[in-house]
Subunit: 425 residues, 2 copies
């Protein structure tokens, strides 16, 4: 099916230099799933394309969630009174253990995928659980949504719970290979990604095996990095040869490279040598401010990351984060950056709307190639947003409407959603 069409509305997007562009009452053209650009007058050659008129509505690129735990979706908004390591033992591990049961997984993942489809997210990097079959169920369901995703069967062979642990490195690696074999060629838009939970959950042997599989099969890796001070201290004990937490991943060849970059969630305490290491490996930082607030991890110095040119996007980190909403993540990223400036370091200026919009769209989107913008040649991922419920006395610019929409997204609605030119809402 050739996906050729035109959307008309009030358009807002970022370019690669992180500049925000607004084009009122204009035409965004999709040809064969790719964006042809944004036009104030529709060029002759597109006049035969079907036109969807969304005049008065906002049209923005789809958003990328660089970090979300599918099995934790069922307890979002709960259990927020503890820090990371306790939170994992009390909330995450007991819940994830249920995914041994395929029926449970089927029901729970239906809820997650239905809600993700309705969200601002068009692409995502997703943690499943350690269970191979449940992960396949999740991938089947995601494929059906039309979203484009990386999905990881989680690896964890130490420091889990009796109900949630792989037996040993060998079994874990074998199970991972079996999973990769089973899904080979099965999906068009659902890709595997190697997913060591985090260093404390994976023995050296398992990490080595994952490094080997990544290399063999040309796979990417996703994990967690420098989220919480106690976690960081623990990693130093567990991998004494590592210069820093990031280096613990690098030692096992799991930080990737430009062609296969890893995505590392949080990086709240990443600085100095660790930051240099991430730059060297072209690693993507998934900034998850809602989670960092809720489990009291701290505030990541995102302005520094942006200034240093590190790859960075946003993550909902459900269920450390309560909501799948990436526009809420945008708001949180701006808000916490103001507290970082006020209470931690006044040399690190707060983020503004454009910084957050960049991270939610092109910043994270670039993990999937050319996505997250309406520049010519980008994948046609788009959201049509109705903000007419927000009454105002003023005539607002498009950027003002977009800013208002992120702060008051509960009063706006997504009217249509496209992924690579396919309409999924």
């Amino acid at each position: 099916m050739v996906k050729n069409f035109v959307l008309k509305g009030d358009v807002l997007f970022c370019s690669e230099d992180r500049k925000v562009h607004t084009v009122p009452d204009s035409f965004v053209v999709c040809a064969d799933g790719k964006c042809e650009g944004v036009f104030t007058e529709l060029p002759e050659k597109y006049k035969g394309f079907p036109l969807e008129d969304h005049s008065g509505k906002l049209i923005i690129p789809g958003m990328t969630d660089l970090h979300v735990h599918a099995p934790q979706y069922t307890y979002r908004g709960l259990g927020m009174d503890m820090e990371l390591l306790d939170w994992l033992n009390e909330n995450a591990f007991p819940e994830e253990a249920h995914y041994e049961d395929k029926e449970y997984a089927d029901k729970a993942y239906s809820i997650f995928t239905e809600d993700l489809k309705k969200s601002f997210t068009t692409r995502a990097c997703i943690f499943a659980t350690l269970h191979r079959e449940a992960t396949e169920i999740l991938m089947d369901k995601l494929e059906e949504t039309g979203l484009v995703t990386y999905v990881g069967k989680v690896n964890m062979d130490r420091n889990g719970s009796p109900a949630l642990s792989e037996k040993d490195a060998e079994t874990a690696a074998a199970d991972t290979r079996q999973w990769l074999q089973y899904i080979k060629g099965r999906y068009q838009r659902t890709m595997p990604i190697l997913t060591p939970r985090f260093i404390p959950s994976c023995s050296d042997e398992l990490m080595k095996e994952l490094g080997v599989i990544a290399e063999e099969q040309g796979l990417r890796v996703q994990s967690h990095l420098s989220e919480n001070p106690s976690e960081i201290a623990w990693v130093k004990e567990l991998v004494p040869a590592s210069k820093n937490y990031g280096d613990a991943y690098a030692l096992f060849n799991t930080l990737g490279d430009e062609e296969h970059p890893a995505v590392m969630a949080h990086c709240v305490y990443t600085d100095g040598e660790e930051l240099e290491l991430l730059k060297k490996h072209h690693t993507y930082i998934a900034h998850c401010p809602d989670s960092n607030l809720n489990i009291a991890s701290g505030i990541a110095p995102v302005r520094k990351f942006l200034d240093e040119g590190v790859n960075i996007g946003l993550g909902s980190d459900v269920a450390g984060g309560a909501s799948l909403s990436l526009v809420q993540a945008m708001v949180h990223s701006i808000q916490v950056s103001k507290m970082y400036w006020r209470h931690v370091d006044q040399d690190v200026k707060p983020l503004q709307f454009g910084d957050a919009f960049y991270m939610a769209t092109l910043g994270g989107g670039s993990y999937f190639g050319k996505t997250g913008s309406f520049l010519p040649g980008y994948e046609f991922d788009a959201l049509v947003i109705d903000d007419s419920g927000l009454r105002s006395m003023r005539k607002l610019t498009i950027q003002e409407r977009a800013e208002r929409m992120i702060y008051l997204s509960g009063e706006c609605s997504i009217k249509s959603k496209y992924v690579s030119g396919q309409k999924i809402i």
Copy 2:
């Protein structure tokens, strides 16, 4: 009209010791607008009362917004890239100047009051603008909503803008007296409150006059206190005799007493002598975390205030805060307290759900007398909340459902709302 009825549902409320009580599948009884208590079996004497069956829904006390600017509602979610003093000059003052125009005020205040009526708020302390007639329009509209409110015509005779300033202290005081005279006996549930904008906006002469009017007419005062470091430094210059910002109010007899307590918004930097002063005067602190985030003011040490037994509730502070939602304010209060603990002072423990729920209901509600609880004798202010849209795999307790509801309020809805036993939704 005698307001006698019974609500059935899953009930959650705080007592004066800040404890959270949950009573599943129970009966809350309203007799003549007051709460008779919560019962697991309906006592014989109430069996003749009409029963509204909200089984499966949450029933919680109405919430009090201790600080909100009605005229700023029209630009909520906008202009978040500056600090307080610039923000006032760029956003607040130009907008408020429009309320000279009664037609504008009528239209804008219709939007505000309609939305406030639909919110979690049952009672509120509201800033209008300096315009007497527009303030009367706002009060007329609020009276119609059924909400109970304190409303203040703002006083400001210095450091405003050419378009937004009272001429001098004498004119300001006369205008205020005229407003108070005009509204006398006009409303049942809409009360005047003296409203010096903040010390930088009010000359010593005007503050003195307001102290006199408060004393003469037995009125309360609302204002802003210790929100931002630059503001605090400015107040020290403006009122050199004051020992601290709070003392600048006390010097002009505007901090009130136990019978007529003042409400002071923010208190981000309130400590030591200033805190003692507020305790002495029984002042209410309106904690406004969303605003403190958005205009980068900082994090108020709320745990300390609670431990010290200071009167405290929550404020939306629209439009420093983007939303009228007090459940969002609850979430923000918990989140920022975690960042205070993490980045400012690890001796000050984070707030938990119960602390925030207390502040939103009984904490702020007590400013209006016995409101914000379902203990016997309290005003019957109640919200019925449908959280059935939040699908889960678990059987949740009422408190878990309430916690989830505040984090995911956009996916819940208010089915009914009562103020002093009057159903307004």
